[in-house]
Amino acid sequence: MSKGKARRVKLEVSPTVPLDIDIACTTVHVAAYRIWHQAKGTDQWTVIGEGNTADSATDNYATGPHPAGDKIYYWLGVSGPPGSKYEVVVTFSQGGQMVPDGAVVEKGRVSDGGAAALETEVTLR
């Protein structure tokens, strides 16, 4: 999947409060992920978190605070029973409160081979 095919989302966030990103798979699937940050006006991406939802490590990452114009980008690799529906919820919150429209729900169906990949670019404003 190329960057041109990534889903695009915009979120209203406070530029003075750290941003919490939580990844949760709500179906009987395993989701691997990698999350990047890009400062406004630069081309460089920095990995701020990676892991998978089936291990014992937490799937919550704190980053920032970030000003408007910065971007968060994440890749998800989902696997489970072939042809089954999956749902992964990526939640953005600050100070313990979810930001407006901060629950980004990624839904779909894994292929007959039991896999699906998707990418989303989140612009902070």
Binding site: M1, S2, K3, G4, A6, A24, C25, T26, T27, V28, H29, V30, A31, A32, Y33, R34, W36, Q38, W45, E50, G51, N52, T53, A54, D55, Y73, W75, G77, V78, S79, G80, P81, P82, G83, S84, K85, E87, S111, G113, G114, A115, A116, A117, E119, E121
Partner: protein, 342 residues
């Protein structure tokens, strides 16, 4: 159901049968009843129907729509209706709940079937059956295995792109999963399955005017023997009350089977027995058989089987009474779920 009496005989080796779905090994072509070991759709098995079109709703709303479609404009049950649903798409637990909670895992894998057929001997009446298939234990369910999902997550991580937009084909993810499934999947895992079916005869197809048509229950347990074999035990019970066009009886069957080989080819030996009692004429019948052979899987749900067996019957009834031979196919695992983890 009456069948002609089967003479005692010995079947020669090289009797080759094409077996579809749930039929038996040697001797299947002579028997008239082929109950599944644990049918995935017990309602259809109870009705002895093979619906060409089955509604498979994936949401509660779709279930409602499908059920409404099974009723005609006059409020009567439609004949030829078939519906099958699983808890997988309806309940949708998360992975941790699925792995840690036996009830949620069992309900997620439950299969419900509902079917209607024209009643024998009365074209205005409809036979309705509702069936339930439960997997009480499945040692081969890889998504229930924490070590499998933990390793799967680690391998999927290896497919992450180095930078946003670098792209990751699904092939990497598929290969990661397929490789791990190949390592971990066990064809002879320990499993316990239960199926139930209840039927009703709807007079004039009226939903509010039904007579109990009987019920059926199947229970199968399978235990792995190393990496090379599997031992299975099966029991089934049937109750059919007296109804117009149908014989009253109760029957119980049981058997054991041993398999050695692989998921594709195996040798088997089995001993089966069935007893029928409570018939209208008071006759009790007992029958049994053994068989020994080799079977090979040539395609999904298509097995070729060869071997030999010996039927024996011990019955107290007169020679012209019913003998029912229990030819059973020992397919314990749900074919659909097995397909999900391959």
């Amino acid at each position: 159901m009456k069948t002609p009496r089967m003479p005692r005989r010995r079947m020669a080796a090289a009797a080759l049968l094409a077996w579809l779905g749930g039929a038996a090994g040697p001797g299947a072509q002579e028997a008239t009843e082929y109950p599944e070991a644990v049918p995935e759709s017990p309602a259809f098995t109870f009705l002895e129907a093979s619906p060409a079109r089955i509604a498979r709703p994936s949401s509660f709303r779709d279930v409602g729509v499908a059920l409404i479609n099974g009723i005609d404009q006059e409020g009567r049950a439609s004949q030829g209706f078939a519906l099958e649903g699983t808890g997988w798409n309806l309940l949708q637990p998360d992975l941790r709940a699925y792995q840690s909670d036996w009830w949620r895992r069992t309900l997620t894998n439950v299969r419900v079937s509902v079917g209607t057929v024209k009643a024998t001997g009365d074209s205005a009446a409809t036979d309705l059956a509702v069936g339930l298939n439960l997997t009480l234990w499945d040692g081969g369910d890889l998504m229930a295995d924490r070590s499998f999902t933990s390793e799967l997550g680690r391998r999927l991580q290896g497919c992450a792109p180095d930078s946003p937009g670098a792209g990751t084909s699904e092939e990497c993810l598929r290969a990661a999963r397929a490789g791990l499934v190949k390592e971990k999947a066990r064809w002879n895992a320990t499993r316990v399955g239960l199926s139930l079916a209840l039927g009703s005869r709807l007079v004039d197809s009226e939903l509010s005017d039904g007579a109990f048509l009987g019920g059926r229950a199947w229970l199968v347990g399978a235990m792995g023997l190393g990496t090379w074999g599997q031992a299975l035990a099966q029991g089934a019970y049937t109750y059919r009350p007296a109804l117009e066009g149908a014989t009253q009886y109760q029957s119980g069957s049981g058997g054991i089977r041993a398999i050695a080989g692989s998921a594709q080819v195996n040798g088997f030996v089995e001993i089966l027995g069935e007893r029928r009692w409570g018939t209208d004429d008071g006759a009790d019948d007992t029958a049994g058989q053994w068989s020994l052979g080799v079977e090979a899987r040539v395609a999904k749900d298509l097995w070729l089987s060869t071997g030999f067996g010996d039927r024996f019957a011990a019955h107290a009834a007169a020679p012209d009474r019913v003998i029912v031979i229990a030819n059973v196919r020992w397919g314990v695992a749900s074919a659909a779920r097995m397909g999900m983890v391959r």
